[in-house]
């Protein structure tokens, strides 16, 4: 697959350029720049955009995390530096530790579930006929395409205590079955979105539902790139389905999984919109994750942008460490 695309891309050029050396010399003269500079010059606009949109706010955020920034400061009073006070304050806060626990637990569970479900569905899609596969892909991708706030609203309604379809459906189960499974048979008015634990249960379902399609489709794309001969050989050698998956599919898809895992970790660490909608705003402190805690500190009145920024810095560093660790692991296994 990789070869084909390289050929296709390069295909248009070589026959057309009759005298490549002359053309390149002429171009150097016209711009007055040595050839090696050109790639860097071409990168400048992109770098400027990144610097303006990412670097500057990030630096501002780090600076703010060492300052006391409230409304007065935004309105023109110069912000005073408070040293590391914002950090000591958040590290002493109980909410910070419960948010950290929620963030990490949620990310671990959700990344694992999303990847497992996504891979399973991807493998299934690979076996389906073309028509059926397209049908399923369109179906699941429409879940993926739902905007985060709408995802939250959908699941909030499904799990609503009085009017939700989940409680209604659980009540339809035969009593003995429900009793056997959950130890209770009456689900009328069960408040799913009160307690931190059940809020996260719903949140996990919601996020997995919306993010496994992307994994499934990516895995499908990877599978299509694995030569059929390998599977044929495996079959001839009498390898079972699970063994084939472990010894052929998994190693060949490792690069795909690497990217997908890192992206999933990042997405799930900073989930915000769905949680905001499910909780109905930052009300239940026990169910905060770090993004929600940062938002509540920074933007609810009276705004404390300094400590909000400090939490954001911690979250960023945490993500960088996790990502760096993971990337290192991949590089290491590659080298062996």
């Amino acid at each position: 697959m990789a070869n084909t695309s390289t050929l296709a891309r390069g295909g248009g050029n070589p026959p057309a350029s009759g005298r490549p050396p002359t053309r390149s010399r002429r171009r150097t003269k016209a711009s007055g720049m040595p050839e090696w500079v050109i790639p860097y010059v071409l990168l400048i606009p992109g770098l400027l955009v990144i610097a303006g949109l990412l670097l500057y706010p990030t630096i501002q955020m780090v600076i703010m995390s060492f300052q006391k920034v409230g409304l007065r400061q935004i309105r023109g009073v110069p912000a005073e530096s408070v040293g590391t006070e914002n950090y000591t304050q958040i590290f002493e806060s109980e909410i910070f530790w419960s948010s950290l626990r929620n963030t990490v637990t949620f990310a671990v569970v959700t990344v694992a579930l999303t990847l497992i479900l996504g891979t399973a569905v991807g493998t299934l899609l690979n076996r389906l006929s073309r028509k059926m596969s397209t049908f399923v892909v369109v179906g699941i991708m429409s879940a993926w395409a739902v905007p985060p706030v709408a995802q939250g609203v959908i699941w909030r309604w499904l799990f609503d205590a009085d009017a939700g379809i989940i409680n209604w459906a659980l009540n339809l189960l035969p009593d003995w079955f429900s009793e056997l499974l959950f130890g209770r048979s009456d689900w009328t008015g069960e408040p799913w979105l009160n307690d931190a634990f059940t809020i996260y249960l719903v949140l996990i379902v919601c996020v997995v539902w919306a993010s496994f399609p992307f994994i499934a489709v990516s895995v499908l794309a990877g599978l299509k790139g694995i030569p059929a001969e390998l599977y044929e050989a495996a079959r001839v050698d009498g390898s079972g389905a699970w063994r084939t998956f472990r010894t052929i599919t998994l190693p060949l898809l490792r690069p795909v999984f690497a990217v997908l895992t890192i992206l999933s970790i990042i997405w799930n660490f900073k989930v915000f919109s769905q949680l905001y909608v499910l909780m109905g705003g930052p009300n239940n402190r026990e169910a905060f994750n770090l993004s929600m805690f940062s938002f509540a500190e920074a933007f609810r009145s009276p705004p404390k942008m300094g400590s909000g920024a400090a939490i954001a810095v911690v979250l960023t560093l945490l993500l960088l460490v996790v990502t760096a660790f993971y990337v290192r692991q991949i590089v290491k296994t590659e080298e062996m």
């Binding site: 990412l54 990030t58 690497a258 990042i266 239940n284 933007f299 009145s301």
Partner: protein, 441 residues
């Protein structure tokens, strides 16, 4: 394995980009300021426009009053007024955005307990001169305590709003329940309503949202409890006192005894009102202005004659001290023309317009002579009675953070109701936190 390297590099870049993007600061939304359109000549402020923020829902009564006020002000000064309505639960967030983004109102209605906070954020402009003479000199000085800071007055009282229990009179008549005189009667009435009107109806709705302290406060004050008292220049929390705890128990029992569903621990009075308008609530604590909104929200299904108020009774009988609320009107510090804005505040709080604001909006008037007259009105009597022993929440600019943003007591109640802590544990923790917040600089 070149592909892997590329994949890893791409992923790392993406990781950095996304991770950083997640933490970038976002600008608060701004609204476009109204453009002045030239019209009407001769008057002092002819051709000028100012923006007024009214708080709450624009029910017909409030809309009618505001239209009349705006028209009268234009006739007097020539200035046009653009009115925007901000629902109560959003007020602090809207003010925050306005103060940060600079696109706020010129004049705004404001809760009297919110004045210290917004004054401390430099968001209000002093209007001390207004009280120098005329009608305004007759406003009792104790109505200006939250509004005064460092010898300057930052907001003008517009109407006093206290709280009483709004109930479905038609249900009470149908089920032959008398308006409760003690807290036990409230519980009995609530249970009877739930029995006859369905399990999903809240007999007496629990408020655990942003304005939960109106209910909890009243119940705690009734027992003689206090949130915090200022000793010297420091606040000392009183949440662990037996008196406060008794009120807190009454509060959490609203849910644990089943008068209100456990699934709605976070609802504020606006959420409750919506459910009330849909016939899902029997009683709840609120202010007089909700009647007009309920009529509107239920599209006439719940009419005025089906509703009535009684003062919240304390456990031992008699009216519990109600939350001393009130609505003020103030000049926003970013007002384009502060003279014009001050003029509007002065005009709207004269005896005529403040009087109409109170009588048409279901509030109590701020002028003593009007208040005397009101006590004869049977519909307003529950409020006048509650107002007689109304109490305020701790007067500190940090109170909003404790009472709404950090929701200290709402969270304490939640952990008790869910059985995660005993009332003693939860209140001890809340007390420490309350002191921390109130005493921070």
């Amino acid at each position: 394995m070149k592909f892997t390297k590329i994949a890893v590099a791409t992923a790392t870049t993406a990781a950095l980009a996304l991770g950083l993007a997640a933490c970038g600061s976002s600008e608060p939304a701004t609204e476009t300021a109204p453009k002045a359109d030239a019209s009407a000549g001769g008057k002092k402020f002819a051709g000028e426009t100012l923006t007024l923020w009214r708080l709450g829902e624009s029910n017909p009564a409030a809309q009618k009053y505001t239209d009349a006020l705006v028209a009268a002000f234009e006739a007097e000064t020539g200035a046009k007024t653009k009115v925007e309505w901000i629902p109560w639960p959003q007020v602090n967030d809207k003010f925050t955005a306005a103060a940060a983004g600079g696109a706020g109102p010129d004049v705004t209605e404001i809760g009297n307990d919110q004045v210290p906070l917004w004054r401390s954020q430099d968001a209000l402009h002093p209007i001390t001169a207004v009280f120098g003479g005329g009608d305004h000199a007759q406003i009792p000085k104790n109505l200006l305590s939250l509004e005064t800071d460092g010898g300057e007055i930052y907001a003008a009282p517009w109407g006093a709003g206290t709280r009483a229990v709004l109930y479905r009179k038609d249900w009470f008549d149908e089920l032959k329940i008398e308006a409760p005189k003690t807290w036990d009667e409230v519980i009995a009435a609530a249970k009877k309503i739930q029995e006859k009107k369905g399990k999903d109806v809240d007999g007496f709705a629990f408020n655990g949202g942003s304005d939960a302290n109106h209910l909890l406060g009243a119940l705690a004050w009734a027992e003689g409890g206090e949130y915090a008292l200022k000793e010297g220049d420091k606040w000392v929390g009183k949440l662990t006192d037996p008196a406060f705890k008794a009120g807190f128990d009454t509060y959490t029992k609203i849910v644990t005894e089943g008068l209100s569903s456990k699934s709605r621990l976070g609802q504020n009075s606006a959420d409750i009102r919506t459910r009330f308008a849909n016939g899902k609530v029997g009683m709840y604590l609120t202010a007089g202005w909700d009647i007009a909104t309920i009529k509107e929200e239920s599209s006439g299904k719940v009419a005025e004659d089906q509703l009535a108020f009684f003062p919240l009774p304390s456990k031992s009988g008699g009216a519990a001290p109600a939350f001393f609320g009130g609505n003020d009107i103030a000049v926003w510090n970013d007002a384009k023309n502060k003279d014009l804005a001050t003029e509007f505040v002065k005009f709207s709080t004269t005896k005529e317009w403040a009087g109409r604001y109170a009588s048409e909006g279901g509030l109590l008037p701020i002028y003593p002579e009007q208040l005397e007259k009101l006590k004869e009105d049977p519909a307003q009597a529950p409020f006048a009675e509650a107002f007689a022993n109304a109490k305020a929440l701790p007067a500190d600019s940090n109170w909003t953070e404790a009472g709404e943003t950090k929701a200290v007591l709402q969270n304490a109640a939640r952990s008790v109701i869910e059985g995660k802590a005993t009332a003693d544990e939860a209140l001890a923790k809340a007390n420490t936190e309350l002191e921390e917040i109130l005493n921070q600089q």
